[in-house]
Subunit: 260 residues, 6 copies
């Protein structure tokens, strides 16, 4: 058996090229979902994100400025909401400020800024993903009490645990639940809802790797494309990824050793 895991294919700059498309989809979707569950029928505050002329727009707070967060910001800005994005990476915030200028309020992510932002938030997007690790629980249950009843949290990274202490995975058929008057949307596989877009997005990213494997064969492909080599978990039955071997308590064999 030879197995490649999407989530371990990794470019030299540490980007995970096969995860980006689903992060883009989920980030953009998160605002659509949030605006839906802000409706009264869905237990939300009854807020239209963009407001209308003369009426205050909603406030969207996005925690994390990576692929998910930046795509959420793009959609939130498009609704006309007030949008705040927090991240600890100043150079990323500078890029987002270049792109969105005064349309996006960027804040250093720390406890004070997060707490202040939650007080006026109608919609919070959890968008902090740490590759290969659990996201930190930035929003504790206690902090829910700062938020307005009926406000909504969309915890996009629920697959890796989420950034909200009270998050637990839900499904498209039963997507929300309420804790302390706050609506939680924590669907585990968000992109599945827009299957057509997601399929094209994922294929765009994966197909070039499939083609390279088909054209070159395994050995050459792994030797010439380090991103693909990093993605390899099992090669001819040997565990070739140290973390996987470690997690399963099995023997690790380096790819180089096999190839030579």
């Amino acid at each position: 058996m030879t197995a490649i895991a999407y989530e371990t294919v990794q470019l030299p700059d540490n980007a995970l090229p096969l995860l980006i498309p689903m992060s883009e989809v989920a980030g953009r979707m998160s605002i659509h979902e949030g605006s839906k569950y802000l409706e009264r029928e869905n237990k939300g505050r009854g807020i239209l994100l963009g407001g209308v002329p003369g009426v205050d727009p909603g406030h969207v707070v996005i925690i994390g400025g990576g692929v998910v967060g930046a795509n959420a910001a793009k959609m939130a800005i498009g609704t006309g909401a007030s949008v705040t994005l927090l991240d600890i990476n100043l150079s990323r915030l500078r890029y987002l400020d270049d792109i969105y200028g005064g349309r996006l309020k960027t804040l250093m992510s720390n406890r004070v800024n997060l707490t202040e932002s939650l007080r006026t938030a109608d919609l919070v997007i959890g968008a902090t993903l740490i590759p290969g690790a659990r996201a930190p629980k930035l929003i504790t249950r206690e902090m829910l009490s700062l938020m307005m009843p009926g406000s909504v949290i969309v915890d996009v990274g629920i697959d890796q645990g989420g950034v909200v202490e009270t998050s637990r995975p839900t499904t498209h058929s039963d997507p929300i639940y309420i804790v302390d008057d706050i609506v939680h949307y924590c669907v585990a596989n968000m992109p599945g809802a827009v299957a057509r877009t997601s399929t094209f997005a994922l294929t765009n990213a994966t197909f070039p790797y499939a083609l390279e494997l088909a054209n070159k064969g395994f050995n050459h492909a792994f030797q010439e494309n380090p991103a693909l080599a990093k993605g390899l978990n099992v090669f001819n039955g040997h565990i070739t990824h140290p973390a996987v071997a470690n997690a399963l308590d099995m023997e690790y064999v380096s790819l180089n050793k096999i190839l030579n």
Copy 2:
């Protein structure tokens, strides 16, 4: 009894100032609803309106460029979708072209343009409201067959009959139904879902009239504010609006006659 009807208060330029706020809310909401019901779980095509880089965005077709249509366009543009708006009023299209430039494709509304637009539409917004009259059935059942299965129609003007032959009013708790593979969203009172925003929006528009009535008393207010006078349906028990008198087959008494 003295009764004023929101829908007959009318400014000199024929605008209906007490209906505009709810049209703004419904127009903006229509895109949120449409994007939600495009999801697979909701029988839609599984399309993310904005697409992602490398994947075709969705196509939104808005029929009518009045308050509802222009607000729908603003939100649709915000999602990153391809947006086409049809209207028969060229001067309105020119204004929208000034505001949105290349982000909005404006088309003269006629059978050819409408038919062509439907063929590639993922989301159709019915936004044609004719004050005091039924909207024309611009989309016949036959035309549904031109559309892609799983595409969505949000018929905003359903309160006045809607522009789609197959539309019938639905509710927030059971908002959609399927005809010929097309998802119909025809909630009769859309703004009710975002009650908080809608209440402020409506109050902003109505309060100045209430204040004027309170400050001046009925007689002076009706004499000095013709918009308010147009809104008056019953004054001291007399029917003062000719259309209402006619519809109920009761006697019409002119306001002037009563006031003098």
Copy 3:
């Protein structure tokens, strides 16, 4: 003596064409002045209106959406600040929302919205001008206590009394004073500071009237241009403007009577 007053020349739509240019200049300047007096050296809060990536931008609250307010909004948006504009004219707010979209938060002007806005304001622009009347004192001394110490008020309409109870006219050489820890900038003739721009702006507006007077002579010009006729205060020594005659307790003679 024949005298025409700039401030009474009036178009059929009630616009005051010879006052607009100075309102444009003052509205745009107001943000430059406000940003200057927010500096610590000038007793302000030490806030940069646009913030920087990672740091909260300043909040600008503009009271009034006419010529002054809309021009102030344009500049405030340009700095990257969060900008809120209040007005009682919904149709004006809708136009500004079309132009500035999510970059400008428009609010119905009422006591609740104004009070809430003041609490987080770094810079308040008084931009409410009522032609020929004192502006209402929308900000009372008591309300200053809601504001943050070191925040700044630029009361553009100080020539007509201003909208702030604690405003009194100042000069370019001594432009500010402090009341209850709030910096007041109330220079009576703001456009004088940018004399070059103001001169061109004013000349652009006045020259066509001067030309018309020169080409046609007084009698024809007043007969053919009602805006000019409204501007006429004294004609051949007779007071031809009723309000002026009234204010000075002198005899009023109608222009028509003189011309015939």
Copy 4:
């Protein structure tokens, strides 16, 4: 003889700094040329790229998102056309999506997307340049039949063969020809038409290298600036570029050998 070739000066990130300026010029020009040859007089479809309010704009399809393609996109967007750009580099598409948002439809370049795009294209820009290699013939003669008669192809990379099977170099004095009802514009040195802009653009890029050569002398300049060293083809009569030596079947001498 010592000779440096513009097209082999290369930065560490593989960019060709002396070719970029002409790619920028050609990319931007391509839309002007295309809009001109869409006119009836020039055998085109008689389409105004931006349309007018109420009339469908033209569709521009750009093949390649490098320097040429991104600059073509910028101009095409400026005309108000519907613009689609195809590339196989997702990370480049993401950057363009950040910059142009919903104004640019980005698609993964593959046969399906290209074919679909051609069907509705009024103007196709060939913008795929592969440094030092022939561009692939992405548009075959057969595919011309998918396109609408009178549509226009501007094949910017004609100097390196172009991406269209039916392309052959033309001149500014006789720039177009027709194959299968499709107008082909394939001028070999497009930037020559805007000589003034091109001269400044090229000088901006080349002058710093010339200055470095003048200040340091050949030996030091080549040793200290690897980009310049890569550009060196002949040094004191020796062929120092392996590909050139190979192409001419002459002896290759490494620069290092000469310098030491």
Copy 5:
């Protein structure tokens, strides 16, 4: 015989609804034509309107801010050029400033501003149309000497004489000529070149009138639609338009007289 002239159909606000579409087309085209004839091959300065990063863009000067001028501005801005627009209508300039902000320099049209603008102009668009009258010759032959050799004038209003003393009508097959080193483009029927777009644009505007005539018959249509009545030149053989009767020295019969 009954004849309606497109150019005399006139709305209550003096707009000429059947001329607007061709003005829109010509205004937008004017920038495409100008950019083409700025090329060296066409005797122009060899300037790319948008420049490239590091190189000065071209300067476009548009004389007149009506339909032609505003549409030319939209396209010129799209190219990335520096754009200046002159008009004598301040309220029109204010609207354009709202729409285009800092992207368009608006100037009061007077001799000083025009002269200064011409000195640095690469492309001048003559866009001053006075309904039913010859446009004034704002650019005299003498003023050509202020302009840079190789700069281009596109005199859009040539059908009504143009605004340039040295303009004379040309054709699509021989569109330009040179006077004093300045390229003159004065094609009399510019929209003919983009026949497809123009046909749709014109039909959009004219069809509703044709429909009204067909549905109501002549008498009712003229009675109920004053814009159409103004367009009527000949009714049952009688000259019903005073200016036409006057120009042809024939008897004028009022429409009212015939209808009664």
Copy 6:
């Protein structure tokens, strides 16, 4: 004693992360200061940077496109001024052109372009900082005579000598002086004026380093974070930065030597 200098902490890409925040603040402030000192009261030309509709806006010339210059450009564009930015780094100019499009004129920095730009400049921003070195005196005293009397220079980099020959440091309490009719604003610590914003900005950048030092202790922190190691000037009393040792003529000890 162990001392870390903000200005020598340096990332692998040579960025100085602890200096960037103050450069951002100073760059943005520079336009506010410039617009203030263009007022007549402050000896300036009496120009409003944004002009008003019908009146020429001011011209801002920014020398340098790094952090200071790009932030100055963002603010200058926000005022509606005409903005020109000069830099010798074409790839930086291309990025700025992507972000700001036609709103920013980018020019290669050379003597011709600089000289031409100064002739029409109302406001010049000196924004050329060379890490660890004196900025070149790009504007000589002689060149001041090219500028219009009353125009303003804000020399942001005055701390490192500034780019103007006639610059000398000033203070917030006495910020300007006049040389050859040109207003010089050369406050040495500009960000001090907006202390609140600056404190947050600086803390955002420095706090992560402080945290790392606290968590890991000196030895580990310096070993694991090369940026921090570069910032170390004195370690346990030894001079560990060669330039510092050299400047003070003291003994240099390498960090590695101490740590081992």
